[in-house]
Homo-oligomer: 218 residues x 2
Amino acid sequence: MRDAYHEELNALTARLLEMCRFVRSAMSRGTTALLGADLALAESVIADDAEIDRRYAEVDSSIQLLLATQQPVAVDLRTVITALRISADLERMGDHAERIAKIARMRHPEPAVPAEVRDTIAEMGAIAEDLISKTASVIESRDVDLARRLVKEDDEMDRLHRRLFRVLLSADWPHGVEAAIDVTLIGRYYERYADHAVRIAQDVIYLATGDRDADGAG
Amino acid sequence: MRDAYHEELNALTARLLEMCRFVRSAMSRGTTALLGADLALAESVIADDAEIDRRYAEVDSSIQLLLATQQPVAVDLRTVITALRISADLERMGDHAERIAKIARMRHPEPAVPAEVRDTIAEMGAIAEDLISKTASVIESRDVDLARRLVKEDDEMDRLHRRLFRVLLSADWPHGVEAAIDVTLIGRYYERYADHAVRIAQDVIYLATGDRDADGAG
């Protein structure tokens, strides 16, 4: 039974890593579609979100099966429950990529991102991609140090998010309210996406150390 | 063992209902603080969020204990897993109430909500309170019809959310970008809060009928 259990656990980790690949691809294309006002690319991100949702539902089912058939206890049980939480966070990260693509689609053929904030959004997109790569490594390795570095990297996303608002609120913002609303929501989607990556890292830290960060909930 | 299991399951439901009461109180006070620019009330919502987080962690622990000691299968297992998801959604609903209170605090002594959108926000607040009351009833009764009515009520929140944007984007919006950003975020917090209530209702429907809505994930 222990062998069957560990086999199923490995299969579960493989499914989570596959979700990470889908999320990474969605966010990467979402950012490109947003900055390039690329309608076809935006549509592909929106269409592919159903694929992430389907994989999330599969992970959910496989976890219920694993709990029912293997009835894990102690650290094994915590590992499985953590996988359940991680899959939910990954599914939400995919949703944020989809929301970014939807803004690109809504404004097409105009770009949704004015020149003044283009570099900041591009930087947020680069960090988003790096975060999901690190998230996958953390899920695979359960490396606490790497998880802590991921949590730290979120500070950089927060810094960019604040910079975005400074530009929006500067006296010479020339684009009016509509563009400000778009940029506010875009900024928030990247920030929330990063928060989910942080939650995953904190869950892995908790699993390894029993140390639950005071403010893990986002 | 079955008796012990059902006793623990009842205790778990009671914990979820208590979380609902906390969320309802937080959202009610959050809306009042926002509309009345009431700093003390906003601070109380922000301080009390730790209480919701603590209860969420307790539910989490009690579910892990229940899984480990009772090792439920089939519908019992799905019930417990659903409770885990519900508690996570309730915790996020509390976070949205806190975010609304934080905007009230940030703008104090000015009101964060201009007169033009006051009524809309007040209506969103009223629906938010009604949704958490219905959420508690759905958790307690597992009544599928009530859960479906809750899902339906979310349409009303979406309608108000669209109305908010129409006002923001009208040619005669006199308040500039800063107020538009505040109102954009406030609107989004109410809408996301409602989405979590919908997820809970959909989880209960799924538990009762096995019928998973195509777009349950938010």
